[in-house]
Symmetry: C2
Subunit: 230 residues, 2 copies
C-alpha cells in the first residue's frame, strides 16, 4: 500500500507526469528537520557495492531521463484527515527500524517515460527470516514500496489490491539488490505492474512479482482533505 | 520465509507433530537472557481488545488441543552454519523495531490436529503505509510469519516459494487482527496454505492469502549442520 509525497510529486512534475494532489503543509509544527531528512542518501552503513551501484544510477540522471527520488521516515503531514488518522508519532514501515544499516537502506530512481522505477536496496541484519537470510516479508515490503511508487507515478494516490511474489533464491543479509518495477498496463482505475528482484552484483534473479494497484478516486480524496480542514 | 525454533519444536512434539531438527545450543555465550525473552506475552502496549482476545485464545489451550507458541527476537543460534551465515547482531524481522507496541505485537496458537495457526496481531504506529494505515509489506510480513509457522509445524524447516495476497480493506494502525492460517494440502515437498486476515472485533475481512512453501530436504540440512560443527 502506498500514499503520496511532496518530493515525489516534484519529481513527477519534472518528468511530465500528472502531479498527485498536494498533501503537505509546511506550517505543521512537528514537521521539523528530522522529518525532512532524506534517507535515500549514502551513509556510513552503505557497502562498497551499494555505493558503486548508486553512483551508476546517479550518473543515469544526468540527461534528465531518470530522476532520483528522496525518501523520508514520516509522511509530511501526519494529521491529514484520512480514515484511521493517527496523530502522533508514526513512521513509514520501510524506515521504522532504528540504526543506519540495520534495516532497509534504499534509493529509488524514476523513469517517467518508461513508467519504470529502479530501487537499489541493501538488506540489513534486522531483516532476518531463516538464519542469515532476508525475511520473505521484508522482500515483500520493498517490492510493495517500489511498485507503489511506480503506481503513484502513473496516477497519484493508489492502494495495493494484490501482490503475488515468487521467491526464487534466498537473499543473504547484506545483499545489494536492484528491483526493477514496471507498469505493464492500465485498465480504468486498475494498474498492473511487475517487479524483478536481482542481485546488483552477479545478476541472480531472487524474486519476481506482480502487483495490482487501484487508483483512488481523486474527487473523493479531495472531499476527505477538505473535510479535515486541509 | 521461515526457519525453526526450539520452543516451537517443543510445542509441536507436545501436539504429536514430528519435531524439527534440533538447532539450538545452550552453551553459546551470547544466547543470554535478552535473547530468551518471550515477546508473545502481554505488555503495557497491548490494547484492551488485544488482551481480551488473547485471554480467549489462552482459554482454548486448556484442553491441550491448542498450544500457545512463544516468540523471540533472535534465532537461538545465530552462528549456525547456513549459507549466508551472519554471526553478530541479527534480529528476526517481525521483532526488529524497538519499543513495545511500536511495531508488531503478536501471539500465535497452534492446533496440530487441524494443521492450523491463529495469530493475534496488533499493528503499531511504525508500520505505516498510507497515512494512518498499515503498510502492505507489514501485512505480508505477518502473513508470511503465520504461514511459515504453520509450514514448520507440518514438516520442519521450510521456505516460502510463493505468497499471493488480496488486500480487501485498509487496516488502520492500532487494529487488532486475527490471522487464520491453514494447511490446505501437501504434494511431496510442496505445502499449500491459506490465510484469512480479519479484524478481531467486527469480523471485517481485511486480506486473504495463499502460500506455497517448500520443505527443505532434512538430509541436506543435517549435512550442513554437521559441516559447521553443530
Amino acid at each position: 500500500m502506498w500514499g503520496g509525497s511532496r518530493a515525489l510529486g516534484r519529481a513527477l512534475a519534472a518528468g511530465g507526469w500528472p502531479r498527485p494532489p498536494a498533501r503537505c503543509c509546511p506550517h505543521v509544527p512537528n514537521v521539523g528537520q528530522e522529518r525532512r531528512q532524506d534517507l535515500a542518501q549514502p551513509n556510513g552503513s552503505w557497502s562498497a557495492a551499494m555505493r558503486r551501484h548508486h553512483q551508476h544510477l546517479l550518473a543515469m540522471t544526468a540527461t534528465g531521463t531518470w530522476v532520483r527520488l528522496p525518501s523520508y521516515r514520516h509522511h509530511h503531514h501526519p494529521t491529514e484527515g484520512t480514515p484511521g488518522d493517527t496523530p502522533g508519532d508514526t513512521r513509514l514501515f520501510p524506515h521504522a527500524i532504528d540504526g543506519a544499516g540495520a534495516g532497509f537502506e534504499f534509493a529509488m530512481f524514476l523513469n517517467a517515460t518508461e513508467r519504470r522505477i529502479l530501487c537499489l536496496c541493501q538488506t540489513g541484519p534486522y531483516l532476518e527470516g531463516p538464519p542469515g537470510m532476508t525475511h520473505g516479508g521484508a522482500i515483500a515490503t520493498i517490492i510493495d514500496s517500489t511498485l507503489g511508487t511506480c503506481a503513484l507515478a502513473m496516477a497519484g494516490m493508489a492502494m495495493t489490491a494484490n501482490l503475488s511474489i515468487d521467491y526464487l533464491a534466498p537473499i543473504p543479509l547484506g545483499t545489494v539488490l536492484l528491483l526493477d518495477g514496471r507498469t505493464e498496463r492500465l485498465e480504468g482505475r486498475k494498474m498492473f505492474l511487475s517487479c524483478h528482484v536481482r542481485a546488483a552484483d552477479g545478476d541472480t534473479l531472487h524474486a519476481r512479482a506482480t502487483g495490482l494497484f487501484i487508483r483512488l478516486d481523486p474527487t473523493k480524496q479531495r472531499v476527505k482533505e477538505e473535510g479535515s480542514g486541509q
